[in-house]
């Protein structure tokens, strides 16, 4: 019996594997060596306290421990400042080259691939649930808590259970304005928020072959919203082109065997999938945008680790160009990294956003998790290109978040209620 992409990457990282072992099976508990250990300004403080308790002086490898101040940075208040200061002190003491502070930092899951820190075939653990984003590169990447990350920082190893894999096959022709976000919202709508619980999702099919890296990052990013441990794409020419010029070390490409054992295979014909919106308060409440059209909005957020890349900003700008944000809507655009910001500036996108009446923020997770930079009052509604619409996610417990891709968010910002891009461009 063959193995899936996820099983092969995990097998390659098993510590003390015995030669002649027949390979891994789903359900096996294994100790693995990690290539990258990630934490951020809200998860690192707990991890660092646990790290201290271990009585280990140094991290296992300073070049493999990455820290990003992105959630509440630039610091929103004194307590956040203390958390970033704690992380900064540790990074200096340990001599961590990949500690990203204000000025260099970006939203972690946009930043790490951009900087070439995660490569195909890597095994990555991060104290952030959206660490699964790196599956887009053909890496096995999964979120864990701070204590797990402390142990991985100290030892370079962690235990994990080999997940079953669900294969998703996307066929058909994409409708206009439909991108990675619409595909993943639709998929989560089909299988539910625990539809891939403890499993790995593998995204395949002709539609995926034609999907950009940005679209793949968006889909892998939201694997966790179906309960998955990881969401993977096989490496192809698109991946190699993205990695070229970023990678400064060797990497390995893996692919699933033709006779790999899948827990489930789900085929999705995208031809009938229009732009999607996920209604409050779960990502599984995905609907065609037309079904949410009557919902008035107070805010539109375009950015995040899900949709804060150049392609996303280009789509939003193409709709906002020459138009104006509705007077009752606050439209907040957040480029994912300093590089994305600079590229958008040079391409004239930032000018487009400002002329349209949107505000542009420095990279931060900010409003996505109700941190700052766009908190909702009671009764307010936002359309957002972020990944979660849980109760109170963006502010008051009685506010609402509608998830969408950048095209729907930009169109809605103009119209003042949820709208499809064709409502403004037609």
């Amino acid at each position: 019996m063959g193995h899936t992409l996820a099983e092969k990457i995990i097998a390659k990282h098993v510590v003390d594997a015995r030669p002649g072992d027949a390979g891994l099976s789903p359900g096996d508990l294994v100790q693995v060596a990690v290539d990258v250990v990630l934490s951020n300004d809200i998860t690192a403080p707990i991890a660092l306290r646990e790290f201290e308790k271990l009585g280990v002086e140094r991290v296992f490898d300073p070049t493999k421990v990455v820290m990003v101040a992105d959630h509440f940075a630039p610091n929103k208040d004194i307590k956040s400042a203390e958390q970033c200061a704690m992380m900064r002190r540790f990074a200096r003491e340990q001599g961590l080259p990949y500690h990203y502070d204000v000025g260099r930092m970006g939203i972690e899951h946009v930043l790490l691939p951009e900087q070439g820190l995660v490569l195909p075939g890597d095994l990555v653990v991060g104290a952030d649930s959206h660490t699964c984003t790196y599956g887009a590169l053909g890496a096995f990447a999964t979120g864990m808590g701070s204590t797990d990350i402390a142990v991985a920082m100290a030892t370079g190893q962690i235990w994990m259970r080999v997940p079953e894999t669900m294969r998703f096959v996307y066929t058909g022709e994409l409708q206009p304005w439909v991108g990675g976000k619409d595909l993943i919202l639709y998929t989560i709508g089909r299988i539910g928020v625990s539809g891939a619980l403890y499993r790995s999702m593998e995204f395949t099919g002709p539609v995926i072959d034609g999907l950009s890296m940005a679209g793949r990052f968006t889909m892998a990013n939201m694997a966790i919203e179906a309960g998955a441990k990881a969401g993977l794409f096989a490496v192809d020419a698109t991946t190699r082109a993205y990695v070229a010029g970023r990678a400064n070390r060797e990497y390995t490409m893996y692919a699933s065997d033709p006779d790999a054992d899948y827990a489930e295979v789900i085929e999705i014909d995208v031809s009938d999938v229009p732009p999607q919106v996920a209604l409050p308060h779960l990502p599984e409440n995905a609907r065609p945008v037309a079904e949410a059209r009557s919902v008035t909005i107070d805010q539109a957020v375009i950015g995040s680790c899900t949709n804060g890349r150049m392609e996303d900003l280009r789509i939003a700008a193409s709709i906002l160009r020459g138009r104006h944000v509705h007077r009752d809507v606050r439209c907040i655009v957040i480029p994912g990294t300093q590089q994305v910001y600079l590229d958008a500036l040079r391409e004239g996108l930032i000018e487009t956003f400002i002329e349209a009446g949107a505000v542009v923020s420095t990279p931060t997770c900010g409003p996505c998790l109700g941190g700052y930079m766009g908190i909702l009052a009671a009764g307010e509604r936002a359309v957002s290109t972020t990944n979660r619409n849980f109760r109170g996610r963006m502010g008051h417990a009685d506010s609402e978040v509608y998830l969408s891709g950048p095209a729907v968010a930009a169109a809605s910002a103009i119209v003042g209620h949820i709208a499809g891009p064709e409502d403004v461009t037609a």
């Binding site: 104290a127 649930s129 998790l369």
Partner: protein
């Protein structure tokens, strides 16, 4: 762990499916990182009365996919800090499950016990045998035992003491 503290008793706080980590501890409190601070805001966006009314030893019972969403360890820390002795659910999101075990918050999967329990019921949980008794309903439920490796982490008192022992063993071996 002595046998005595493997028996837990408490009053049920029952919640539904997909209780996410944002309602367990809203992100506006993630600029704090101690169990005491976090406990004061535990379950705030779904049950504002909880943090004030919860008693030492009480048990949270959830439906499917309890603890979904963020990787924030603040969530099980807030629950443990509030004095909750144990969480029982029909199923758990995987990061929450790991986090709970790592920090020493007992966590049990029992679809039947979770479905039957209502707020205010009293439960007796025997961690050693994995049995759950609902004294109000007079029913006892069996849960499947933890895999041996997970049990070792639990018996060590969490992942940090477990890893400390390993690190010391390795150091002793290297210096020998």
């Amino acid at each position: 762990m002595s046998h005595d503290n493997k028996i837990l008793q408490g009053k049920v706080w029952k919640y539904g499916n997909n209780i996410d980590t944002d309602v367990i501890i809203p992100a506006r409190y993630l600029n704090m990182s101690t169990a005491e601070e976090l406990a004061q805001h535990c379950m705030e966006d779904i049950d504002p009365a909880f943090a004030r009314a919860v008693s030492q030893g009480d048990i949270i019972v959830g439906g499917r996919n309890f603890g979904c969403g963020s990787s924030r360890e603040h969530a099980p820390m807030a629950i443990k800090g509030a004095g909750v002795s144990c969480v029982i659910a029909e199923s758990f999101a995987r990061i929450f499950y790991r986090n709970a075990i790592n920090i020493g918050l007992p966590i049990l999967v029992s679809p039947e016990a979770a479905r039957d329990a209502t707020t205010g019921d009293r439960l007796i949980v025997d961690l050693e045998t994995g049995s759950i008794t609902n004294t109000h309903l007079g029913k006892t439920y069996r849960t499947s035992p933890f895999p041996p490796f997970i049990m070792q982490i639990i018996e060590a008192g969490g992942l940090i003491p477990y890893t400390q022992a390993q690190v010391h063993r390795r150091a002793a071996k290297e210096s020998a």
